[in-house]
């Protein structure tokens, strides 16, 4: 075994792998000072890496995670903060009566104090609204799923969870996609590195579906969608128009593909 081969085995040697090879390396190291030196340097590198400082997690790390898990978790926290410090529990009826009185008063104030010109403003806003869905309120997302059957069951649940509505249920479409494969040109060893790239059609399972998601639930929906897809999956970005009235849902055309 020459020095180059021995050096390629030094990590394995340090990790106590392959007893037979270890013996050969060990014999070589006894007679070769250069390789023995390499081994010492490698050991020093590994121990330097093992000894790097481990940083402390910032004290508000968990709080930061809570802040990012919006809005469900936050709402739970708000409820807890509102009601947990109270030693007496309010009866549900009392809360409901108070909430109804508050709501009636608010609506009454809105109607009584609403200036008339606002109706005109509402009309003009309606006039601006397009009759057919504008492209800005639509988004196309492609999801590469490692388990298409599971995700077909999960997606409607997910849409439901965020208060969305299924417009078009999943429809299967078989598509053939081109994939490049490398093909050896000549079998001889000296030509083995000469390859030819050739396109072949690969059948891909694909499902198309359309649904509506309330605008204020879009970020939570995207989070949940990411959770469905494995971390390596690629997905498009949902586009949202700033001019889109808050009440308008976003229409999502989703393509669920099996990996190629």
């Amino acid at each position: 075994m020459d020095c180059k081969e021995v050096r390629n085995l030094l990590s394995a040697y340090l990790e106590n792998e392959d007893f037979a090879q270890r013996k050969i390396v060990s014999e070589h190291l006894k007679t070769c000072r250069n390789c023995a030196g390499e081994l010492e340097e490698l050991k020093a590198t590994i121990s330097t890496l093992a000894g790097v400082e481990k940083l402390e997690v910032p004290s508000d790390f968990l709080e930061g995670v809570h802040r990012k898990i919006k809005p469900e978790h936050q709402i739970n926290e708000v409820w807890k903060k509102l009601f947990c410090p109270l030693h007496i529990k309010l009866p549900l009826e009392a809360v409901a009566v108070a909430a109804t009185v508050f709501l009636v008063l608010t609506i009454y104030n809105q109607i009584a104090l609403q200036p008339k010109p606002q109706r005109v403003a509402l009309k003009s806003e309606l006039a601006k609204a397009p009759l057919i869905a504008s492209p800005e309120r639509e988004a196309t997302i492609t999801l590469v799923s490692d388990d298409i059957e599971r995700d077909l069951k999960l997606l409607p649940l997910l849409v439901n969870e965020v208060g969305g509505k299924i417009v078009e249920p999943p429809k299967e479409a078989f598509v053939k996609k081109e994939k490049f494969v490398e093909k050896k040109l000549l079998p001889q060893a000296e030509m083995a590195d000469r390859m030819e790239r050739k396109a072949v059609s690969v059948p891909t399972r694909s499902f198309d579906m359309t649904f509506q998601i309330p605008q204020d639930k879009m970020s939570i929906f995207m989070y949940k969608l990411e959770a469905i897809a494995p971390p390596e999956a690629e997905y498009g970005r949902a586009l949202k128009s700033k001019e889109l009235p808050k009440s308008e849902p976003v229409i999502i055309h989703l393509k669920l593909n099996s990996p190629q």
Partner: protein, 191 residues
């Protein structure tokens, strides 16, 4: 039953505190993996938190064919890789080639990179050494960086690393050796 799986079951049954326990239990390792991958404290904090947010929404679909920690580390490593990719795109936009002539008050001159190797041993204090290690790890190629971090800094097994990065054991070993040899050369002056 695995302690993490018990916590996951409690979380899925509606106990939010169980998720917090999962965060606290693994946060040190998750944070340090992100820090070593990205070399920046604030970015590491951001990405480590994002990993937990992602896991929070994915726990329902977590199939338990690997341990929870393996799954969590896979998420954080992938998020770090994405962040590094987007950083790379940013950097390309503002990058100045070291061969480009540099404009100074005396006129235009060639850039020079001074070697720090000869007197490095004498002047390095712990902080500078740490910085050089960080830079050396940062200069490793994608695919090699995470292997050396997970093995030599975080002490994970080959099998776990293979599952996290989704490569076979042989590739883990060969990448680890190459990454170590590169770091050995880069850190020659300080170890």
């Amino acid at each position: 039953m695995n302690e993490d799986f018990i916590l996951i079951d409690r979380f899925l049954a509606g106990d939010g505190k169980a998720f917090d326990e999962l965060v606290i239990k693994h946060q040190q390792k998750v944070f340090n993996i992100a820090y070593r991958m990205l070399g920046d404290y604030h970015d590491a904090n951001d990405i480590a938190q994002d990993a937990y947010v992602k896991v929070y929404y994915a726990l329902r679909t977590f199939r338990r064919d690997a341990s929870f920690s393996t799954y969590l580390y896979r998420v954080v490593v992938n998020l770090c890789k994405n962040r590094l990719k987007s950083r790379g795109r940013e950097r390309k936009r503002i990058a100045v080639s070291l061969n480009d002539p540099m404009e100074t008050e005396e006129g235009i001159e060639q850039r020079e990179i001074k070697s720090t190797a000869p007197c490095a041993r004498e002047i390095l204090d712990a902080k500078e050494k740490e910085k050089l290690i960080r830079e050396a790890i940062g200069s490793l190629e994608d695919g090699f960086r995470e292997v050396v971090i997970l093995r030599d800094i975080e002490g994970l097994s080959y099998e776990e690393i293979a599952q996290i990065i989704n490569i076979d054991l042989g590739t883990v070993k060969s990448r680890l050796h190459r990454a170590r040899m590169t770091l050995k050369d880069k850190l020659k002056g300080i170890i």
